[in-house]
């Protein structure tokens, strides 16, 4: 199980970075260009969801890869 957790750590890091890129380039950027009320979801994607998911998941993955979650 500990080996699985460590391997999954890399998956979570990749997922976090991938989700951040997807949310900013494919969701937020077109909305920034539209302007108006679409700025609200653009702000949410750029400043709330993307950093939260990418930084949070990457950190979680990093700890997992390091073995911080072994034997818990």
């Amino acid at each position: 199980m500990n080996l699985i957790k460590r391997i999954l750590g890399i998956v979570w890091i990749g997922l976090g970075i991938g989700a951040g890129i997807y949310l900013i380039y494919f969701q937020a950027v077109p909305l920034w260009a539209k302007g108006g009320n679409d700025l609200v979801p653009a702000i949410i994607y750029t400043f709330v969801l993307a950093p939260l998911i990418s930084i949070g998941m990457s950190l979680f993955g990093f700890y997992s890869f390091q073995g911080e979650f072994d034997n818990i």
């Binding site: 199980m1 699985i4 957790k5 999954l8 979570w12 997922l15 108006g36 009320n37 700025l39 609200v40 979801p41 702000i43 949410i44 709330v48 969801l49 939260l52 949070g56 998941m57 950190l59 979680f60 700890y63 997992s64 911080e68 979650f69 818990i72």
Partner: protein, 490 residues
């Protein structure tokens, strides 16, 4: 023993009533968003319209984690009791003040700015309240029955929503539509202050949590809860695990089952608003006892299994349930009663009505906004049998909510030590519920709207579910692999 039981019942009641009032205060804003937008955010002013969208969809939810940090820190420094008294006063004051703000027509741009500011204060207060109440009850409860006792706190969010809908429906039905639009909408905000005062009087007589008192007496109080909670790798990893392995999925199950069900029926299925609220209130009330049942069950078989089961069932059943809900309301395949179709022209408004052989009715009010733009408001009323079918679907959705949410307070409390518990459990809870969950109805509606415009998928009305299904699935994988399966995590 009897005295102890009574005092525990008093502690749970006093804590729950306050938390319930905070949820009520928080939800009436959302439930009255349509009226508020016409009073404070006129659409002809783009800035006001922008603030409206921000206030309605995001601000109150996004700010909750900050409330968790501010009040969580206070709760770990000065105690649970005083902190959740402060959050209650803040929430009550902000809600009461919203009911007093003059309209945009009277004070101009100050109106949307004040509403947005007060909505932020509501979010901050809620961010501090829940962790305090859950911690307070958990620290009084015997360890082997913590799930059962904290589950009463878990019922308050649902009951707060039910009461907010009931107060709004009662106010609406007690006066004319014009009177409600004119001043009646302020009543649900103003009556909140009475409930808050009663709750403050009850909470004033409560004693501090015994675990916190003990830690304080032993000098084991954290000097810097924020640093110890998030600056320390040993604790931060548990905060991240709580977030990605539990509260993210739980928050999404909660908001999909309760709020998105409402948004889906109202905005995507175009079901009549009174009928939608009635269905929701009945479904919520029928489902509420399950919070306590699953909370108690978690004391016997463990928290993780129940929470994960709720999330897994939700992932696999969302699409079929929401699909059936849509088909129950959809009139495209129903037979029109011959001669029932009518069209009435009145100025720039055209009203189309139809009746169907199964007892459903359809009304579409088309208003000409400009030469090349019309606005359409469809409202469908369904028959009584279909109404009960929808109640059953809402009940199923709520039952998944109760599985994921019932044991979560006990689970989070057991994950962190007393001295930084309030801070550490509040943050993942409010990111999971406030951010991932709270933004869910708005994001899902946005995804459905995009799918309907693109027209490339067969069932665009289900596209909004991709957001919760994806994130809940990730949460389930993390929860199953990383979270300890013991009856008590710590």
């Amino acid at each position: 023993m009897t005295t102890k039981k009574q005092s525990l019942a008093y502690i749970i009641s006093a804590s729950s009533v306050g938390t319930l009032i905070e949820w009520y205060d928080f939800y009436i804003f959302g439930s009255l968003a349509t009226v508020l937008s016409t009073k404070f955010f006129p659409t002809d002013n783009p800035t006001a319209a922008f603030l409206n969208t921000l206030a309605t969809f995001a601000a109150g939810f996004v700010v909750r984690p900050f409330g968790a940090l501010v009040f969580g820190r206070l709760g770990d420094l000065i105690g649970r009791k005083y902190t959740f008294m402060v959050t209650l006063m803040l929430m009550g004051g902000a809600t009461f003040a919203i009911g007093l703000i003059p309209s945009y027509a009277t004070i101009g741009a100050w109106a949307p700015i004040l509403v947005l500011t007060l909505r932020l204060l509501q979010g901050l207060a809620l961010g501090g309240e829940y962790g305090g109440a859950a911690t307070y009850v958990a620290e009084h409860a015997p360890a082997e029955r913590r799930g059962f006792f904290t589950s009463w706190i878990q019922t308050t969010a649902t009951l707060g929503l039910v009461i907010s809908l009931a107060v709004i429906m009662a106010t609406r039905s007690s006066m004319s539509k014009e009177a409600f639009d004119e001043y009646g909408w302020r009543i649900p905000f103003l009556v909140s202050i009475l409930m808050v005062l009663v709750s403050l009087l009850i909470r004033k007589n409560m004693e501090e949590s015994p675990m916190f008192e003990k830690a304080k007496a032993e000098g084991n109080i954290s000097k810097n809860p924020l640093k110890e909670s998030f600056g320390n790798k040993l604790n931060l990893k548990y905060v991240l695990l709580a977030l990605f392995g539990a509260t993210m999925g739980q928050g999404l199950v909660w908001y999909t089952g309760q709020f998105y069900a409402q948004t889906f029926l109202l905005k995507i299925c175009n079901l009549d608003d009174i009928q939608t609220n009635m269905i929701l209130v009945i479904g919520l009330l029928l489902g509420t006892p399950l919070f306590v049942i699953f909370g108690a069950l978690s004391d016997k078989i463990g928290r993780k299994g129940i929470m994960m089961a709720g999330m897994i069932i939700a992932v696999f059943s969302y699409r079929p349930i929401f699909d059936q809900m849509y088909k129950t309301v959809d009139v495209t395949n129903k037979t029109v009663v011959p001669g029932s179709e009518k069209m009435i022209l009145q100025g720039k408004t055209t009203t189309v009505t139809k009746e169907f052989t199964d007892g459903s009715s359809y009304k579409n009010v088309i208003t000409e906004v400009s030469l090349d733009k019309t606005e359409s408001k469809i409202s469908i009323k369904i028959n009584e049998k279909d109404q009960w079918t929808l109640v059953a679907y809402v009940f199923f959705l709520i039952s998944f909510v109760t599985m994921a949410y019932g044991p979560i307070a006990a689970f989070l409390v057991e994950m962190f030590p007393t001295k930084i518990r309030y801070t550490s459990m509040s943050l993942p809870y409010h990111i999971g519920n406030g951010v991932f969950g709270g933004l869910m109805p708005a994001i899902a509606t946005f995804l459905v709207s995009n799918a309907q415009t693109a027209g490339v998928v067969q069932k665009p009305y289900l596209e909004g579910l991709n957001y919760p299904i994806t994130l809940i699935s990730v949460c389930v994988v993390i929860g199953i692999i990383y979270i300890k399966s013991a009856k008590k995590a710590a």
